[in-house]
């Protein structure tokens, strides 16, 4: 490309270099950079300021635009992710088009990653020179406004999803709540008591579940999953797959007479809700307070599905209601929503992965979630704490950090285990008077009333041993250990290795991302952290937003969280979603692609590669056309087009070439 051919020689450029306190100024020689910028062709004025993003900083730009009749602005500061909107705003307020701006990232790309001042300053100069050349080619662009669909989709019916759905529905908007399990309630429904107040979990959860079930503004689809998502902020088209429960939900009244009447007189299949600690029949209600109160049939267990030769006593019992339908098929519902809240929760660590604690080998080693069911009045033993052989344990060991803070499995702290272990210790001690030993690495009890709860446990005579447990075994070295499980741990406070014989071991399993979190991430086009937790837009200032506009996250799918935190996040996500919807319109960024029709040969290559199906073929003129509302500006079509007939706003070839040339032109 020739040196002068593409230049807009009428460009009057202002360059603004930010110190960002010491963030930039400590490494980059800002005065020298500014002085250099003033010498770049086309630059009319160059200035430095301590915080360019501040009001006085923006005022500086506004004043210059006015005084020097500037028509292009370069700001050398931080990442455009941080402050591009700020400076575009400053341009707009000064009466010039906001897209006549080019930012240069001399913080993340220069000062934060370099240590040599001279070289860093030289690099910053190169970048500023390149930006000044590129910005001349910027064109004024307009944002598009599109209407927002007022409905919201909430994915996941645990406490976070329930709370978000109710908050939005109470504001008068319509919510679709999609839950994979046959009932809502999530993990909280498993618990007997909640820490640190020892509220009855069911007493505080079930009213909210019932409210969801009967709310006129909530469409509840349980036993369902999101199958496909299309569209963009404000206008998502979502397909929901509803798995057959072989029961017509509108006809079933939850009387459970069919369950009574089933040809199996006793349950035979592992009851999911009791984690296999009890058995259920092929037709069942997940648990007494399930919402919706509708039974379902497990087709892998039901004789009718296996042989077609069942007496079908369930149908007889259902009688005129005729709610049972063995021929029911999976259905797909299609809905349109403006925003999405993902509240898909977590899964607990598989304790078998730590071979040293004997889960799956020794029957009296339990996971904490199993013990939640054991202490629960609606659990498999009606709340009696007994071992698998029916005996009451006299000594119980609770091992913290199983699958947390461990370089062999998960490195993160799961945040809730210390507190729920204290709660279980309290409940076990209170109900059966057993000696309870907690083996911990550090006690982590920050939270309102949490440390006080720990204090209370110390007073209650629960034992605490500080040290990571080496192993749980059943080999005795002393008669007192015969027939017991022996927990071997280094007591790091006392400074020796202890062997503590117990009857029951509780593994405080950590929290992990759902097994299919990465699939869900792709479905909604959001990001995951390295560990698989959904990534927030900003860890401090945008904790429930994602990098995809209109998709919000709440609860433990974003990282380990207890109930109060999950509910708080759900409320925040609901507020963000409502703020989006109440704006009525959304402005779309104009960095979209468009087809230069005179160049287009109609080969259709671009149609198949567009990930957003934003390109269509106009048959009568045999040309491709981009729907700029659907286009996300990924640039794939631009790179693919064999005749270079597609151009993308703000990323035109000549703009990029000009920037590259600017970089390579040694000063």
């Amino acid at each position: 490309m020739s040196d002068s051919g593409n230049r807009d020689l009428t460009a009057r450029i202002g360059v603004y270099v930010c110190h960002c306190g010491a963030n930039i100024a400590a490494i980059v020689d800002v005065p020298a950079l500014t002085e250099y910028a003033a010498t770049v062709p086309g630059v009319v004025v160059a200035r430095e300021y301590k915080y360019m993003c501040s009001d006085p900083g923006q005022e500086l730009i506004r004043q210059d635009i006015h005084d020097h009749d500037l028509n292009r602005i370069v700001v050398a500061s931080c990442s455009p992710l941080m402050h591009e909107p700020t400076f575009r705003g400053a341009l707009a307020r000064s009466g010039i088009n906001p897209f006549l701006l080019q930012m240069v990232n001399i913080r993340e790309h220069v000062s934060w990653v370099h240590t040599d001042k001279a070289e860093a300053t030289a690099k910053a100069k190169d970048l500023v020179r390149a930006a000044a050349r590129r910005v001349r080619l910027h064109k004024p662009l307009e944002k598009r406004r599109v209407e927002i669909n007022p409905n919201v989709l909430v994915v996941g019916g645990g406490i976070a999803g329930i709370h978000a759905a109710l908050t939005i529905a109470n504001s008068g908007k319509h919510v679709y709540l999609v839950e994979r399990q046959p009932t809502i309630g999530g993990h909280m429904a498993y618990f007997d008591k909640t820490f640190p107040t020892l509220d009855c979990a069911a007493c505080i959860l079930t009213p909210k579940m019932t409210a969801v079930g009967s709310h006129p503004n909530i469409t509840l689809w349980t036993y369902s999953e999101v199958a496909a998502v299309e569209g963009y902020v404000g206008n998502y088209k979502v397909k929901v797959r509803r798995k057959p429960r072989y029961i017509h939900e509108d006809l079933c009244i939850g009387c459970q007479e069919c369950v009574e009447a089933c040809v199996y007189k006793e349950g035979r299949w592992a009851d999911e809700f009791n984690l296999g600690l009890s058995k259920r029949k092929p037709i069942y209600l997940p648990f007494p307070q399930a919402v919706p109160q509708k039974v379902l049939i497990d087709r892998d267990a039901c004789i009718e599905f296996k042989s077609g030769k069942c007496k079908k006593t369930c149908i007889e019992a259902c009688g005129e209601r005729m709610a049972i339908d063995f021929a029911q098929k999976e259905t797909i519902e299609e809905i349109e929503v403006g925003g999405v809240i993902l509240a898909t929760g977590f899964k607990t660590f598989d304790a078998r992965r730590n071979a040293y604690y004997g889960y799956g080998t020794y029957p009296n080693v339990y996971t904490s979630l199993e013990v939640e069911r054991l202490v629960n009045a609606s659990g498999p033993t009606s709340g009696e704490i007994v071992l698998r052989d029916g005996k009451k344990p006299e000594r119980v060991g609770i091992i913290h950090c199983v699958g947390s803070r461990d370089h062999n499995t998960n490195r993160w702290c799961s945040k809730v285990c210390c507190m729920y272990s204290l709660k279980l210790a309290h409940l076990i001690r209170e109900r059966i008077g057993a000696e309870v030993y907690n083996f911990y690495i550090d006690m982590r009890t920050p939270g309102k009333g949490y440390e006080e709860f720990y204090d209370r446990l110390l007073d209650e005579g629960v034992h605490f041993v500080r040290g990571r447990v080496a192993e749980v075994s059943d080999w005795p070295v002393h008669p007192s250990e015969e027939g017991k499980l022996i927990i071997r741990a280094e007591d790091t406070l006392a400074g020796f290795v202890r062997r503590i014989p117990v009857d029951m071991v509780v593994l405080a399993v950590g929290l992990e991302p759902q097994a299919d979190a990465r699939d869900v991430r792709r479905l909604f086009n959001i990001s995951c952290s390295e560990e698989g937790w959904f990534l927030e837009r900003h860890p401090k200032l945008a904790p429930v937003s994602t990098f995809t506009d209109g998709v919000f996250i709440a609860g433990a799918c974003q990282g380990p969280k207890d109930i109060p935190d999950s509910v708080a996040q759900a409320g925040a996500a609901a507020a963000e979603a409502m703020a989006l919807i109440d704006a009525k319109y959304v402005e779309l960024e104009p960095y979209t692609a468009h087809v230069l029709e005179e160049e287009c040969s109609g080969c259709k290559t671009c149609l198949s590669i567009c990930p957003y199906t934003a390109i269509s073929f106009v048959a009568d003129i045999k040309k491709a056309r981009v729907n700029e509302v659907l286009c996300k500006g990924c640039g794939t079509c631009v790179a693919t087009c064999p005749s270079a007939a597609i151009e993308q706003n703000l990323f035109e070839d000549r703009e990029i070439f000009e920037e590259v040339e600017g970089l390579l032109a040694y000063a």
Partner: protein, 291 residues
């Protein structure tokens, strides 16, 4: 089937019975072994605690020699097996170690690639030979002989290459194929005391005592081992470990010796004459014929 065989010092010293039985069993299964030419110390001895780099260099020399031979390298001694594996990991994981080791190899005129598969005989017998071939070779089944399968630490920790770290079962399965009955033995990967018996005798004896007591508690008639140091500790210190309570009298054998019995090989060929505790009364009681 052919392997490069690395005996290490133990199999020529305290562990001679291991080498004799191993070679006999491999001959019986028609597996060819070619001893590594000009092998040296594996590096597991005191080198590891005084100067790790020298230890890696020693191991690397063996590996580089084996690499030239182009067969998998079989290291029966658990300590050799671990140090050879460890060297490969460390050279890969820590480039500065890799550089020094590579310089050392080049200095003595060896190629600096040490990428050769290091195998334990348990792994070879189970995964290359297979249980079916073993079963076919059994002529004198072990008649339900109760064997405590003791693996020790080094062949499964920290690199669980071919078996579970906490509950390995490869030896259990091999012995079962020979008609023995492996007992429940929850301490199968516990520490045998290593060289503690020499430095902190009470600590070492305690560890040995637990292993013997647990074997007896679970009804074992013999203990089967895969490591010369484990075998030595468990066999020769039995009386000291028993102290004033009743003596253990528990034969401690290499798993290859039990295989040799099941294959009908003469006891003398499998090194039984080197045992401190006679196996014959146990064999007689189980009506296992032997020559």
């Amino acid at each position: 089937m052919k392997y490069t065989y690395y005996p290490g010092c133990s199999l020529r010293g305290t562990g001679r019975a291991y080498e004799e039985s191993l070679l006999a069993v491999f001959r019986a299964l028609d597996i060819e072994l070619e001893e590594l030419d000009d092998w040296n110390c594996c590096g597991a001895t005191t080198y590891m605690s005084y100067d790790e780099l020298k230890s890696y260099a020693l191991a690397a020399r063996n590996l580089a020699l084996a690499k030239k031979a182009e067969h998998d390298l079989m290291a029966p001694c658990a300590a050799c097996y671990l140090v050879l594996n460890k060297t490969q990991h460390y050279v890969e994981d820590y480039p500065w170690i890799g550089q020094i080791v590579s310089n050392a190899l080049v200095t003595i005129g060896l190629p600096d690639s040490i990428k050769v598969k290091v195998r334990h005989p348990l792994d070879i017998l189970l995964n290359d030979v297979g249980l079916d071939a073993i079963k076919k070779r059994v002529t004198r089944p072990l008649n339900g002989l109760k064997v405590a399968p003791y693996y020790g630490c080094q062949i499964v920790r920290p690199y669980a290459v071919f078996d579970n770290q906490r509950n390995p079962t490869s030896m259990d399965r091999l012995l079962e194929a020979c008609g023995a009955k492996p007992t429940y033995y929850p301490v199968k990967t516990n520490c045998c005391g290593g060289s503690q018996k020499g430095t902190l005798p009470e600590v070492g004896l305690d560890l040995i005592r637990h292993l013997l007591a647990e074997a007896r508690r679970n009804g074992a008639e013999v203990i089967s081992t895969v490591c010369p140091l484990c075998q030595f500790n468990l066999e020769v210190f039995q009386d000291q470990a028993a102290a004033n309570s009743h003596k253990f009298g528990m034969p401690v054998l290499y798993f290859t010796q039990l295989l040799a019995v099941a294959f009908g090989l003469p006891l003398r060929e499998a090194g039984f004459q080197r045992s401190f505790i006679n196996i014959k009364p146990v064999l007689a009681e189980k009506e296992i014929a032997y020559v």
